[in-house]
């Protein structure tokens, strides 16, 4: 199911992505069309299958969201792509290299924001960002990065004094200071208040505007909808669907839930043909159907439905 959808989607996204990225695309060697290409990825922890035959393509310049509940295999998948974890089976290529053998030059082209932040309590924001810039051959200007993540008021603050949201912004600053072609964001806004999430989203949109390819994991549906060009729904280590947020929502939109109430109690039917059902009900009750509701699924319903079916 997902591979068919996916192929249809690929051409469209590639065309769109080509605009923003320009010359950067040509550098990725043998896999010029994909920033990330995964085939048949399998990862086991003892007996447990954490990733179960996953296929994935991410194209240059797009924001791809991997959406799924806790324990679905998001972080395992992303950490395999980042070179932190070994895979048991499958082919993986990330900007032209196998992450299991990624060298330092390869690491210079990716940016990683891990799920958990690291402790560097006694160093200031500016010291850390300037220091990390020194690791990369072609870094962004550290002072520009400080401004772009909105930490200019905190540049001389020790990191121990930062709030959770500010620390996350620092994590992102350290992830992008090397001017990466591909940026991994693993659950970047978990624990944010709504205001902090909004401003974080603006930052991600600005990065996308610069042509950075972004792989984002999240368990927030609205986050995937707000940021992603395409969303992959993952559960139990398998990709259930890959599509644009709108089409994912529209996927089952023709399905509707019809509810009504009579002397026997509540009734509910899920149908592809709600109008016909309502007409039948109208005949059955001789006009008005008591407490009739016709409910179209939201993206959330679609998502939860997928998880239930999987």
């Amino acid at each position: 199911m997902c591979s068919g959808l996916f192929t249809g989607q690929a051409d469209r996204v590639r065309t769109r992505a080509g605009r923003g990225t320009g010359t950067r695309d040509g550098e990725s060697g043998g896999n010029a069309d994909t920033a990330v290409r995964v085939r048949g990825l399998v990862k086991r922890y003892g007996e447990r299958l954490a990733v179960d035959g996953l296929d994935l393509d991410i194209f240059p310049g797009e924001v791809f969201a991997l959406l799924g509940p806790n324990g679905a295999g998001k972080t395992t998948t992303v950490e395999i792509l980042e070179g932190y974890r070994r895979r048991d089976e499958g082919e993986v290529s990330v900007i032209g290299a196998d992450p299991a053998h990624g060298d330092l030059a390869w690491r210079a082209r990716i940016g990683i924001v891990l799920q958990s932040t690291a402790e560097t309590a006694e160093l200031t924001v500016a010291e850390l960002i300037h220091h990390f810039a020194g690791y990369y051959p072609d870094p962004r200007d550290p002072d520009d990065v400080i401004v772009s993540v909105g930490l200019e008021d905190k540049r001389d603050a020790r990191t121990r004094s930062l709030s959770g949201g500010q620390r996350r912004r620092l994590d992102v600053a350290l992830g992008i200071v090397g001017n990466p072609r591909l940026l991994f964001l693993d659950e970047p806004t978990t624990g944010f208040d709504p205001q902090a999430r909004r401003s974080f989203w603006d930052l991600v949109r600005a990065l996308r505007g610069d042509g950075t390819t972004i792989l984002l994991t999240t368990h927030y549906l609205d986050e995937a909808q707000a940021l992603a060009d395409r969303v992959g729904v993952i559960d139990k280590g398998r990709l259930l669907a890959v599509d644009t947020p709108d089409r994912l929502g529209g996927r089952l939109a023709h399905r509707a839930r019809v509810r009504w109430h009579d002397d026997d109690g509540d009734h509910e039917e899920i149908t592809d043909t709600p109008t016909r059902l309502v007409t039948e009900l109208g005949d059955r009750y001789g006009g008005e159907v008591p407490q009739l509701q016709v409910i179209r699924p939201s993206l959330e319903d679609v998502y939860l439905g997928m998880l239930e079916e999987s």
């Binding site: 070179g83 402790e119 560097t120 006694e122 990390f132 690791y135």
Partner: protein, 263 residues
Amino acid sequence: MALRIGLSRTVLELKQFFRERDSMVFTFLFPVIMLFIFGSVFKDQELPGGVSFTQYFTAGMIATGVMLSSFQQLAISIAVERDDGTLKRLRGTPMPPAAYFLGKVGMVVLTSLVQVVIMLVCGGLLFGLDVPSDAGSWLTFTWVFLLGTASGTVVGIAFSSVPRSAKSAGAVVTPAMIVLQFISGVYFVYSELPGWMQDVGAVFPLKWLTQGMRSVFLPGSFAAQEITGSWEPGRTALVLTAWAAGGLVLCLRTFRWQRRGDR
């Protein structure tokens, strides 16, 4: 490249070390406090060979200071950095791994030197430690210090994989260090220890580092009181070098950038 980043990491490590005020003060002060306590309690005790216990103990505490700044400091701080994700983050950048270790070595050498200077000043002012003035003693000091620092550094890095978490790091590393001090001729005179304890102590580098420091700071005549009747510089160099080389191999084979099971 690795050298430039290594220097920049040394600066960063030193900033972190000196800004962690409480930890820094205790690291530097601990040997001084021990020196003061033992020096005051045993100030009238003379050892055979015309050396006071305080002088003997001061040489041992200088050696201990070097081991604290290298072995204990690294074993704990790297265990913490592994547990809190600092190492994992570094691994995700193009920082050459050698630069990370160079940064640690730079920090250890500088903090150990500060430690030694503090001990010399306190030992000299409070307990009449004779600071040697001849070039030969300082040459000995230099190689004993460097070999001791080198072995403490690599063994500390290797040992950082032993604690399971940041919380247990101090509890695992500190007792090992304290036991070593007792059996290596720091708190007790080595030649007065039971034979089997001497044999155990002689396996570890602190015993040799301590003996090497005695050869620098105690009069040459005291060598006769060592169990072999000599300072044994050749064997000291050999044992410390062996620990440095073995520790390096162990580091290269066992060093992990991630927590246990995080693969």
